[in-house]
């Protein structure tokens, strides 16, 4: 009994193997697919980034193929789960380059994973579009490395521009101990002077802290503070917002794009009223005016994603959408998958409208976004509305 079972299973797997060989050679004869490699933090601590990114890539590769592919060739997605681990990211990128022989790479959910693989893609001379946030990815410019998300420096500048418009110049910072918080705090301090903003108090809180009233009381009693900015991520900003209202601070509170979501309002409740933050247009897709050039892109992406996965769209998935679409545009413009030509085409992208904003790449800017990519939102009546 057992042996016959084993035999049939061997037979079956042989048949599958033969079939897949036939399929593969058949395809190869017709048209070689365009291989898109991806490594994303689908599981682990950064799963909130990698999960929607991976879903987005799968969804759109399918859609593009159903519509006939690119240049008559199908897209083939080769995706690995790097679980937020830089070491794993290196291993998978090596595999993508050497074994899978992909034509280009879209991926790297976190800055750590992205920076770990930069030397590999530079050496292999393969176009790489990162989905991570930090400025270091594109500064200094690396020949083969591009990225789609806005940087934390842009978020700081967007906030500072809004503060200037409201004639607020002396501000306090309160930030957490996480990587996102630290990086954004440093960037804000760097660009503050440029916008004539003076940081006169700079408080921090720990990763698992449950109460920030002590830090906020100190800020409240610092003479001259006109506004507070909280570059933060996770539960910290929600607690800061609640404590802010609890001790009755009257001046405006700004949060960062790190908590730009409906969830933040759910977590902080009525305290989110009047809080401002910079965010991508995706968050307010439906309430954008019809005249907004970005409206159709974000509304369509939102519809596609939510119809397929029955869960709320996130800006992170949007970064993957932009990455894939930029790659497709570059392949079309290059007329094939020649790596050097695709790279040049990526660098030459002008006026592409993505979920993050208008992309104008150049030899000195491998992200191509400007401050219009961010919208300034304000919490009003339990939802986000754009500040005009």
């Amino acid at each position: 009994m057992k042996t016959t079972q084993a035999k049939t299973s061997i037979k079956r797997s042989l048949a599958v193997l033969a079939a897949s060989c036939a399929l593969f050679t058949g395809q190869a004869v017709a048209q070689e697919p365009i291989k898109v490699g991806a490594f994303l933090s689908v599981t682990g601590g950064a799963a909130f980034l990698g999960d929607p990114e991976n879903k987005t890539l799968e969804l759109y590769v399918e859609k593009v193929n159903a519509a006939g592919g690119v240049l008559g060739r199908k897209l083939q997605l080769v995706s690995y789960d790097s679980a937020g681990d830089a070491e794993k990211a290196r291993t998978f990128v090596k595999r993508l380059i050497e074994q899978d022989k992909v034509d280009l790479i879209v991926g790297g959910s976190t800055t750590g994973e992205t920076m770990a693989v930069v030397p590999l893609v530079e050496a292999a001379q393969i176009p790489f579009i990162s989905l991570a946030g930090a400025v270091v990815i594109i500064e200094p410019v690396k020949k083969w490395v591009f990225k789609t998300p806005h940087t934390d420096r842009m978020a700081c500048e967007k906030v500072f521009v809004d503060m200037q418009a409201r004639k607020l110049s002396k501000i306090a910072l309160i930030s957490g101990a996480g990587g996102f918080d630290k990086s954004m705090r440093a960037e804000c301090l760097k660009v503050a002077a440029k916008h004539k903003i003076e940081v006169i108090a700079d408080e921090t809180y720990g990763a698992g802290d449950t109460d920030m009233t002590a830090q906020l009381t100190k800020i409240k009693n610092t003479a001259g503070v006109q506004a507070v900015l909280n570059p933060g991520f996770g539960q910290g900003p929600a607690i800061v917002t609640k404590n802010y209202r609890q001790i009755g601070i009257a001046f405006p509170l700004y949060q960062s794009h790190g908590v730009a979501s409906k969830e933040f309002i759910n977590l902080s409740g009525a305290a989110a009223e009047g809080v401002r933050l910079p965010a991508a247009a995706l968050l307010i897709a439906e309430s954008l005016p019809a005249s907004d050039p970005q409206r159709s892109v974000v509304v369509n992406y939102k519809k596609d994603y939510e119809a397929r996965f029955k869960s709320d769209v996130s800006t992170f998935g949007g970064h993957a959408y932009d990455g894939l679409m930029l790659a497709i545009e570059a392949v079309k413009k290059a007329g094939g998958t020649d790596k050097a030509k695709v790279r040049d085409a990526l660098e030459g992208v002008r006026g592409y409208m993505g979920t993050a904003g208008v992309v104008n790449m150049s030899a000195t800017d491998h992200m191509g976004l400007d401050l219009t990519a961010f919208r300034m939102l304000e919490g009003k009546g339990g939802n986000w509305t754009e500040v005009k």
Binding site: A47, T204, D209, T210, A214, Q215, Q235, Q246, G248, L267
Partner: protein
Amino acid sequence: MSAQFMQYLLTGLTVGAIYALLALGFSIIFNASHVINFAQGEFVMIGGMAAVSLTAAGLPYLLAVPLAIAAAALVGLALEKFAVEPARGASVVTLIIITIGASIFLRGLAMLVWDKNLHPLKPFTGDTPIAIGGATILPQSLWVLGVTLAIVLALSWFFGRTLLGKAMLATSHNRLAAELVGINVRMVLFLSFGLSAALGAIAGILIAPITLTSYDVGVMLGLKGFAAAILGGLGSGMGAVVGGLVLGIAETMSAGYLSSAYKDAIAFVIILAVLFFMPSGLFGKRGGERV
């Protein structure tokens, strides 16, 4: 200035009361078994998350809260029955490692059963801050302080006046002697896990409206509660409460008057200083073995 001091004090007391509840949980299990239960923080998480999902399902607080506490207590009892008891001949270190494993397991399980998101819980009695001497305190903080006080009183009655409580206390003093006079030491150990899980769950439910809750909320709270227990003296109920409050107030005072960046460091320096002069903590049993 004094309003500022008042605010720091109120905040410190609230934070400290939370640490104290966790420290009490550590102490109860330590007394019964000399094991430091590193899954204590996970009980806090289970209490909070269970309360969140039960209230989301439409249950009123009066029903959801006892159910959430019972759920955590059951998990505590199961942990003892299926993980700690089978290894009862093993050394204390082995048992501690088992609790570390259990905490990782419970966190993973919570991630699957619930999700990875943060969840708010509605405050028991409104959100309007109460002004006291120029400072403000949330009604929920008063709940935390009040319930902590009630629990401390209830526990001291339990350990001082009931047969079962006295049996647990006797076991902590001398396990062999307790066994000789007919105390069911295994039952004591079993119940101690249930009791400290219930305590953890109460803490988790009380703080969820203030701090939000998620599958990994227990990690940092567990560490802080452990530090408070060490500071007060492991195994001492009084020590757990004092240790928790001292740690909470030290943290907020140093965040307020010195530097928020070093507030955790300052709190731990205080702990080290205390332990340097009083190796068994503020209220710990003296004359133990010195290493």
